[in-house]
């Protein structure tokens, strides 16, 4: 439970930091780097979420559909 909550906080932190980096790079006039930073942050968060989804589906398979 605690680790799950910490993952949520991590994602929120990554999101805020990526938004900050995006804004700063945009102010500096480097649009493409800003897009790239956003993409990298997105991929990192996607990795967290994919781990969570795979955990969830494994658990559902083992509880509901026995042959999982």
């Amino acid at each position: 439970m605690l680790s799950d909550a910490s993952v949520i906080f991590q994602i929120a932190g990554i999101g805020i930091i990526v938004a900050m980096i995006h804004t700063i790079l945009k102010q500096m006039g480097k649009e493409e780097y800003a897009q790239f930073a956003t993409l990298v942050g997105f991929i990192i968060v996607l990795l967290f979420v994919i781990n969570g989804i795979s955990d969830l589906f494994q658990e559902i398979k083992s509880v509901f559909l026995f042959q999982g």
Partner: protein
């Protein structure tokens, strides 16, 4: 008090989503997704305990194992389809959510076919030929 854990998790997640939604909507969607997943993972442990009880009762009552397994699979499909449909609807794709619900209903019907045929065969057996 586990319900306090879950309630506080939901409140904190909604606050984080509110903060993050204006800057990066995609990240806020990921937070929603992970919150749903963690609450579901928390609940599923208790569901498995209840299912163990149901299976034990079924064994005591000498019910055919196939029927119990089918019923549990149907409940599982319903849970998964509901979860996915809600997540997709939160992301604003209510048409896809409706399709997921339709697929869940159809798959449940397919799983229920052996039970339906058993019922119909029993009824036909009652009717004197």
């Amino acid at each position: 008090m586990e319900i306090i854990n879950i309630a506080s998790l939901g409140i904190v997640a909604s606050l984080l989503v509110l903060v993050l939604k204006e800057q990066k909507p995609s990240f806020s969607f990921f937070i929603i997704l992970l919150t749903g997943i963690s609450i579901f993972l928390f609940v599923i442990q208790h569901i498995s305990e209840v299912f163990r009880l149901i299976q034990y009762l079924g064994e005591q009552a000498n019910i055919n194992g196939m029927y119990m397994e089918t019923i549990l699979q149907i409940i599982g499909i319903a849970y998964i389809a509901e979860f996915a449909a809600h997540i997709t609807r939160d992301a604003g794709l209510s048409s896809v959510a409706a399709k997921i619900e339709l697929a869940g209903k159809v798959l449940i019907l397919v799983l229920a076919v052996p039970i339906l045929t058993a019922v119909i065969e029993t009824i036909i057996g009652f009717i004197p030929a």
